[in-house]
Symmetry: C2
Subunit: 270 residues, 2 copies
């Protein structure tokens, strides 16, 4: 069997990246690990995020993955560089792909970023954007209530709308901004509500879609793409409650489940 792509996340947000990987790279096999037991990572101190991320990485290395996708913005902000330096497989995070897509899309050169407290505090998106294009203006906002809301399964409806509305109030006042990066992999799950609140003129950038595309580029460049019809079952692991995790996975993947390779789900201790 061909080697798999490893995907790590603090919980279920990374499933949006996993789904895009399965959709854009249907010949590839995934091994996903969501640290739902210790989610959210956003408000945790840097050292703890680093330690937890290494625990996840070490688990996946025992599965002989050929590439690592850090499908969590907070973990990317604090560990990407270190992992790229220390591992001998390609490592990609979710921040640079989102930044590059925003640079491509924005016409006003004013980009907004929403994410967890950790991601926003790290200024990783502003750095990624301005390293490539210094004239980009960046407005950042931490939306702390979003991750716990999504992990509870509140993905639409009145309560969701009111939380999103209230959190995004400061963003709606930024006149020149034309592009908003969903700087947390949980946010694409409530993308429709965010678009409704921000209005149709704002282009939303989903790090998940963009990261899947950049994974495709890197696998091709390194000659690591699977050949068609070699796909085995995907393996999805959670450190938390297996039933909750199964329910959320089915909910996020919705009806698309039948069109993808079978997924086997496990609970694990790391």
């Amino acid at each position: 069997m061909e080697r798999a792509i490893g995907v790590i996340d603090s919980g279920v947000g990374g499933l949006t990246v996993a789904y895009e990987l399965m959709r854009q790279l249907p010949n590839e096999r995934l091994i996903y690990l969501g640290d739902t037991l210790r989610c959210p990572y956003g408000p945790r101190p840097e050292l703890e995020i680093k330690a937890f991320t290494w625990e996840m990485v070490n688990f996946l290395l025992t599965k002989h993955i050929k590439m690592l996708v850090i499908a969590c913005n907070t973990a990317t902000a604090f560990t990407l560089q270190e992992l790229q330096e220390k591992l001998d497989i390609p490592v990609i995070g979710v921040i640079q792909p989102g930044a590059r897509a925003a640079i491509k899309v924005t016409k006003t050169n004013h980009v907004g970023v929403i994410g967890t407290l950790g991601t926003i505090g790290s200024e990783a998106y502003a750095t990624a954007l301005q390293t490539i294009k210094p004239e980009i203006a960046v407005t950042s906002l931490a939306c702390s209530p979003f991750v716990p809301m999504v992990e509870k399964g509140i993905l639409q409806g009145e309560q969701c709308l009111s939380v999103v509305k209230e959190s995004l109030l400061p963003m709606q006042k930024i006149k020149k901004m034309d592009t908003l990066i969903l700087g947390c992999t949980h946010y694409p799950i409530i993308k429709d509500t965010i678009q409704q609140v921000m209005g149709p003129k704002i282009s939303l950038i989903s790090s998940s879609e963009e990261t899947a595309r950049e994974t495709s580029i890197i696998l091709e460049m390194k000659g690591l793409l699977n050949k068609p019809n070699e796909v085995g079952n995907h393996e999805f692991y959670t450190t938390g409650n297996l039933e909750t995790f199964k329910k959320m996975t089915h909910r996020i993947f919705a009806k698309r489940m039948e069109s993808i390779q079978p997924i086997t789900m496990y609970r694990t201790v790391i």
Copy 2:
């Protein structure tokens, strides 16, 4: 001075890639070579296209470029693999970026491709699309009148509309297609007319924008990105008439010229 990105094209079509490179990577310096004297490449035999492309590449290698962008679909179709094998700098073409973007965008898994006779005949887009995602259906169409029309400077108006309408007639009958790849770097110049003819429901993919974005990824991965404020003047070369080339460059870049680094233009023999 930092080393430049080399860009080659059969004529002025590659200027759309050059423009996107300057917009998305404002810290980088370009050396562009357009073989306007021998344009179009589309209807030429494979061996001739290969020979002409190597002549362009050899010219740019004397300028110590750090990366090569083949901004011509026809040249990419016939020479990308060979150039990637033989050069010791990263080489990128315009076909794979367009294919990957189309895979990201399509919801119906039915993608259209328009290009020159050479590009369409090579089936390079169908191969690129189906290698990554075998279930993608591809409908291809050669639009031979577009390149000569654009090189003549007919970029809008009645004549342009009627040529585009007539050429795209077979494409408009494909019901399930939701995404159309502009598989020739001349085509983004008449993108508005193509969109008008195809209607708002079809997503147009510009290889130019996508190639610039993938160039950004590769430069970052290889640690080759320039630091801010180190940009020298861009150099643009044509093998044809310098005045015509200058006029076309100004026309394609339009008012955006003031916001980019100065360009020095030369006529050259290769």
